[in-house]
Symmetry: C2
Subunit: 408 residues, 2 copies
């Protein structure tokens, strides 16, 4: 039951954090546009590079941007205010709070994933401890789709569309030149984006033929056996692998072979921006089988920011999540995160709710068991049904009937 709050008079500050997505500016623009409708919100500041921009007082005045500029920014990939990967220290929190007070910021919005929700939560607690009148919202985004409380997150539908489109083409590339093709997809702890590769399958013999997710322990001997079996059946094999696959002890496969990896202040090791995992897996297949042509690609940063490839559903929802955060903050809740839910039924329909910050902060959501097959090397129809409405209609793929010619 939403509380009915009196609007609080003061300025608004908004910032973006974590990995960019292609629709993250839709949420930013949605929040700005909505804020302009509320007289209680005076100035609209944007902090550059997330909380770093708050600490450095690097603000721009977003309230002065024209509607046309806002619409142009909305369709532009990657965090327009700049991003950061930084967990605030207790010292940072004090300083951030001082800045908020100094600029009379009464509305704070932080667009990001679970690490950013945690940051929002910490800043909110600091303000509460100081009895500062303050509305504080996290606005969800992440192509990984791993935020708790959400049916799915803004950015995922577009990322899934990119991955599915890539596999559609790459499956045909592999069908033309044969051999084994491994594609490494983003996803540290959650396999949703890698699983979206299954949406590429149009004909029953299409790839991906195997999908490996961080939710299941990865075993190289099983991986080799699976690939050999598929090659024996189809004469070729297309494989989707999450960058975050780990062994039965939880050790990431890539970290077994790469010493001294980078770690950010949230404790995450660097997985993207390197082709190491794909090259390693390709080398294992070459070493342990007689399969001649083995290739690996790592989709890398393209899957979160490729210009022009986005899901219209995703873009619309990302805009709405930004709008809803401001609406909630002005009239209903002092703090929270905006979550996307899905109405039951055969026709896809989303709606938006406020959830407590503590419920989305820090911990991540994983693929439900019902979305993963028993062998742990593919997805189920339930996952396909879940993901299909989120990407928008995918490109059409044709095929010859292939009328045979009798050998002479």
């Amino acid at each position: 039951m939403p509380r009915k709050l009196e609007p609080l008079e003061g300025n608004m500050l908004i910032a973006q954090s974590g990995g960019p997505t292609i629709v993250i500016n839709q949420s930013l623009v949605g929040a700005i546009q909505e804020a302009k409708h509320h007289g209680a919100i005076h100035k609209i500041f944007g902090a550059l590079h997330g909380i770093q921009g708050i600490l450095d007082e690097e603000f721009i005045n977003l309230g002065r941007e024209s509607d046309r500029t806002l619409e142009d920014v909305a369709i532009t990939p990657s965090s327009m205010l700049g991003s950061v990967r930084k967990k605030p220290t207790p010292e940072d929190c004090k300083q951030i709070f001082e800045v908020l007070r100094k600029y009379d910021v009464r509305y704070f919005f932080y667009i990001g994933g679970n690490d950013s929700a945690e940051t929002t939560h910490i800043i909110n607690q600091q303000a509460r401890a100081n009895r500062y009148q303050f509305r504080c919202f996290h606005i969800c985004k992440t192509i990984d789709n791993d935020l708790r409380e959400n049916d799915h997150t803004p950015g995922f539908g577009s990322g899934a569309r990119f991955v599915a489109s890539a596999f559609m083409g790459d499956n045909l590339d592999n069908r033309a030149l044969l051999g084994v093709k491994i594609n490494v997809v983003m996803g540290r702890h959650a396999g949703f984006l890698t699983a979206a590769s299954a949406l590429a399958r149009v004909y029953p013999d299409d790839g991906p033929h195997l999908i490996y997710l961080p939710e299941r322990a990865f075993s190289i001997p099983r991986f080799i056996a699976d690939a050999k079996r598929v090659v024996a059946e189809h004469g070729r094999c297309v494989i989707a692998v999450s960058e975050g696959i780990a062994d039965s002890k939880g050790t990431p496969i890539v970290s077994k072979f790469a010493a001294g990896k980078e770690v950010d202040s949230h404790g995450n090791i660097q997985l993207s921006g390197t082709g190491a995992l794909g090259d390693l897996l390709a080398a294992e297949i070459r070493r342990r089988t007689k399969i001649k042509r083995v290739r690996a690609d790592t989709f890398g940063y393209l899957q979160r920011s490729f210009a022009g490839v986005y899901s219209e559903v995703d873009a619309r929802e990302a805009r709405e999540v930004g709008r809803m955060a401001v609406r909630f903050a002005v009239r209903e809740w002092a703090d929270g995160s905006v979550a996307i839910k899905r109405k039951p039924g055969r026709t896809y329909q989303a709606y938006y709710v406020r959830v407590a910050l503590s419920k989305v902060a820090k911990e991540t959501r994983h693929m439900p068991d019902a979305y993963i097959n028993a062998a742990g090397n593919y997805v189920t129809q339930a996952f396909i049904d879940y993901a299909r409405p989120l990407t928008g209609p995918l490109p059409k793929i044709g095929r010859f009937k292939g009328y045979p010619v009798k050998k002479q």
Copy 2:
């Protein structure tokens, strides 16, 4: 001056070879559709996996495919008949000729790059030596854009569109999270596709900031110095690198660091399908500078087959090249390759000519000097003017005006 030939009665055989492109089936369908209009051409066979399918007599009857199927196949990425990387031996040539005679093939079309033109040339010489009445055409394709006699080749415009779109998004990703980003682009000997990254630049400070091509000797110390200079100026750096970059002695940079690479029967070493070069260059920057965040992506096979991202100009021209090959073969020339030329003038307009097979076979075309800057680390405006009409309009990129907020 075209000769006027009498139409030759008999069957047609068409096949695809080399690296797939997203518009290679446009050429295939163009040739099939055109052939249906000529009574002299009886059956239309498609050989599976290029000359391998001729050797194995693996044919399908393309004349029976419906118009709807043909149109669906035309917009589908990657060689629908399958491809091969195989240079025929003298023994193969004899056998191919026997198959052509056995199936009364009087029209032969081979869609591919310069290696495929060479194969077409060899098969043609075999037929001539046997005084076999035969029309033999190469139909150009290659995302590398490295065919002699051509202003540009089918597949390049779409590949360039992919690369430019990727850099548009990735430049914004780098602008949000800063550091150095290296992207490795296809291009063994010719830098056209890597150069197309420059089309991504909308604002003067946009990346790519540096572009390294196979046409200029690559030096790691110069590369490091360039990157440091750009980071000092912009606080970040986006770099495009051709997979085929080589040192002053012509040794590919990737081969210096990777022993025992695969070699195909045309003598080409494997460059794509591995992240080795990008990882190597990123490691060099990390080792030799104090720049903290360094990432590398290798675009890999996505740039030639990604479903849904293609240039309409490119698709139209690819269709036309297929049609023209059949028209030339029926009435004008016994053999040749269809080349795309550009009419002089400010408005882009292409036209099609027949050139001798020997003129496009084997050797490749490089970026003209006028397209490369003096320092050898970027392209010129002349290249931008050349490439711009080939990709179709690129996605719109917005930016805030960025009205400053005074620090308090």
